[in-house]
């Protein structure tokens, strides 16, 4: 029997989305791509979860931060009242 979520089981190998799909480009002007790398709250997903290479993670991080500056992406989605 396979244990669910156990760390002893074989972990699925993560793939860098940008290497799998060469047409995908990191661009701060394109939130439709960047949205895969933030949580619902708008936080940037860490590399161990996103599965990106170090280089691409840096690109994505920079792009998200730029996108936030011009309100293309949220800093956070929790609205203060």
């Amino acid at each position: 029997m396979r244990k669910f979520g156990g760390y002893r089981g074989r972990r699925r190998k993560k793939v860098d989305r940008f290497q799998a799909d060469k047409t995908l480009v990191v661009d701060y002007k394109d939130p439709s791509v960047l949205k895969y790398f933030v949580t619902e709250r708008g936080k940037i997903v860490p590399r161990r979860v996103s599965g990106l290479t170090a280089k691409n993670q840096r690109r994505v991080t920079r792009a998200i931060k730029r996108a936030r500056m011009v309100a293309l992406m949220p800093f956070t989605t929790v609205k203060a009242h």
Partner: protein
């Protein structure tokens, strides 16, 4: 005399959603004037992304007009652009990003006239019907 190398930049600026076409034209004009002050400064491409929803509130606005511009210019041009945009009340946000540097002023930039990639376009929500979900607590 050494010819000054050029840098390639892109600029996005946001104009408040209640601005009239005239006011927006005025802002675009001021940006143009900044270009005229610099030798070899030239716009490669200009795009109007229309009125878009903001990811978060800026100065109590939930929407803004987005303008995009790709250009080359000497160092110092962006400082002037940012100075101009900072002074304009209608402009609520701007960003300039350096894409390339050390470019020869004589080189051909014509391949840069193509618009921003289609997928970027697709992500751009043109939103003109006013306020369907914002709760204006009146």
């Amino acid at each position: 005399m050494i010819r000054q190398k050029l840098r390639k930049y892109e600029l996005i600026y946001l104009v408040q959603p209640e601005a009239t076409d005239e006011e927006r034209g005025k802002i675009a004009e001021r940006v143009e004037q900044a270009f005229e002050k610099f030798e070899n400064a030239r716009t490669l491409r200009k795009e109007d992304w229309g009125k878009r929803k903001l990811a978060y509130e800026i100065r109590k606005f939930n929407k803004a007009f987005y303008s995009y511009q790709l250009f080359v210019g000497p160092p110092g041009l962006t400082a002037e652009l940012e100075r101009v945009l900072r002074m304009l009340d209608g402009c609520i946000r701007y960003i300039t990003i350096k894409l390339d540097e050390g470019l020869d002023p004589d080189s051909d930039f014509s391949q840069d006239v193509e618009p921003v990639r289609a997928q970027v376009r697709a992500a751009i929500v043109v939103d003109d019907d006013d306020d369907f979900e914002e709760d204006d607590d009146a």
